[in-house]
Symmetry: D2
Subunit: 156 residues, 4 copies
């Protein structure tokens, strides 16, 4: 069995047009995912997705981007494995489906759909200054969010 | 141009396991959609989807069900046009995409994903005892919800 | 149970840029589908899809178009029920999936993918001057193709 | 820019129930892809997909599997990066879309749909004892197929 297969996949979701705080949080979350040898998965585009992937690559982590379009050149430069889907926004379902656990940072309706899919697919969803949805576990900081994601003993 | 093409398509979204009030609201919403000669579109399964389709058919309306699976026999008996997708929950995106306007009744995370897609696709989303999401227009009754949906002068 | 639900759905597949003979065949196939009270389903765009839908509407038939894009206004004017998917060419799978039986007329690689999906989903595929694929039943004329499609006793 | 992003992605398509010769060819094709530092992408399941991935991993290559279902544990053990889609057979479109070039080995209708999508998406498709389709470049051996795939000067 491939070594990569044993790694945890942490999905980071959030919008393409975040504020400064969200960008900083995304970068920190990505860095900690990379440092802890987990795989970062995201929607592959800009904003939160790019900041998180940038953080993960800084630490030598592996990054996967599940893209809405047809060309892998649409992925931000910090994505190692761009997966194109041609599904448009319906790819949000695949972002949630491919993650073991999700960290939502800021975000608009696209992020809301990914939070909903995370809950549909019975994934734990950790929220950092994002939609206040029943079922999402709130984290107070980027560090706490990744700690919760990495923890095997996450309680609801 | 086909006459049917000129009709408004109202999507009714809501869960498969609603409470009594939601079922009654769904039936009333469906009835009013049928009576007003609009097309009812839904996810094609049970609960809110079935009650709304039943109401629409009672009034001689046309009903479309966008199904998650591969067999049109999974549609509830009040669906005229079952469309199979084989997309599982990713079909929620298509329910929103195919509606001119959405009425959300009760519902769990599936409904939340459809509300999110409605907003992503710039559709008006009217809520009846459902998720309290910024951007959803709250209606106080089934009658009011359909009135808002049918209105050309809907204001935000 | 809705009366429409009892009708046979015949999928007509073929390219957007057919030759004259293919267009004529598509129109005849569509007319015979409409005359025989079956539902015509197709990809909703131009060429074979439009000619077949035009034929079906001339005879008062019902037509469904499963579209690749997001706007139902992309459907040709002879489609009663346009279904948008946002799936691009991946919607070819849904065209096959939603048909009880398929008639392929002329066509390029899009049609080939629909023939393949028809066979994957265990639908009978009748071919009229189209790809020569093992498993496709060849018809010599538009009339024969529809006769085969309508027949309950189709033998391989 | 990630180093992995510069690698060529070669898609290997073929059925889950191939004969001995096809399995042997798939293993050789995969081995040569791995040895030449390209990425092997496939449908992630058994048969040709598994033999090719096994070959690639033997040479230390990277393998991606685009799966029809929801669980990455359905991937064969030689897949490094399993991507779940929940799209069923509609995922065949994504297998073609994510490859720079395709090598088809043996195969049934699923493979035929992937060949068709390869051509739709303007990818070169190299065939090894597979469907005889106009537009597919025939190779006489596994070695020749990979040589053609790796070549930048492939002519039609």
């Amino acid at each position: 069995m491939s070594e990569i297969r044993n790694k945890q996949i942490i999905g980071v979701i959030g919008g393409a047009n975040p504020n400064e705080r969200a960008l900083k949080n995304a970068f920190t979350v990505g860095s900690l995912i990379g440092k802890n040898n987990a795989i970062l998965l995201c929607g592959g585009l800009s904003g939160v997705m790019e900041a998180a992937a940038k953080g993960a690559k800084k630490e030598g982590g592996l990054t996967i981007g599940v893209l809405p379009g047809y060309s892998r050149y649409e992925a931000n430069p910090f994505i190692d494995i761009p997966i194109v889907t041609g599904l448009g926004y319906s790819r949000n379902s695949l972002v949630a489906m491919n993650s073991d656990i999700l960290i939502a940072i800021d975000g608009q309706f696209g992020t809301l759909s990914e939070i909903a899919y995370g809950c549909i697919y019975k994934k734990k969803v950790i929220g950092l200054n994002t939609w206040n949805i029943n079922g999402v576990i709130r984290a107070e900081s980027a560090e706490k969010a990744v700690e919760l994601a990495l923890s095997n003993t996450l309680k609801f």
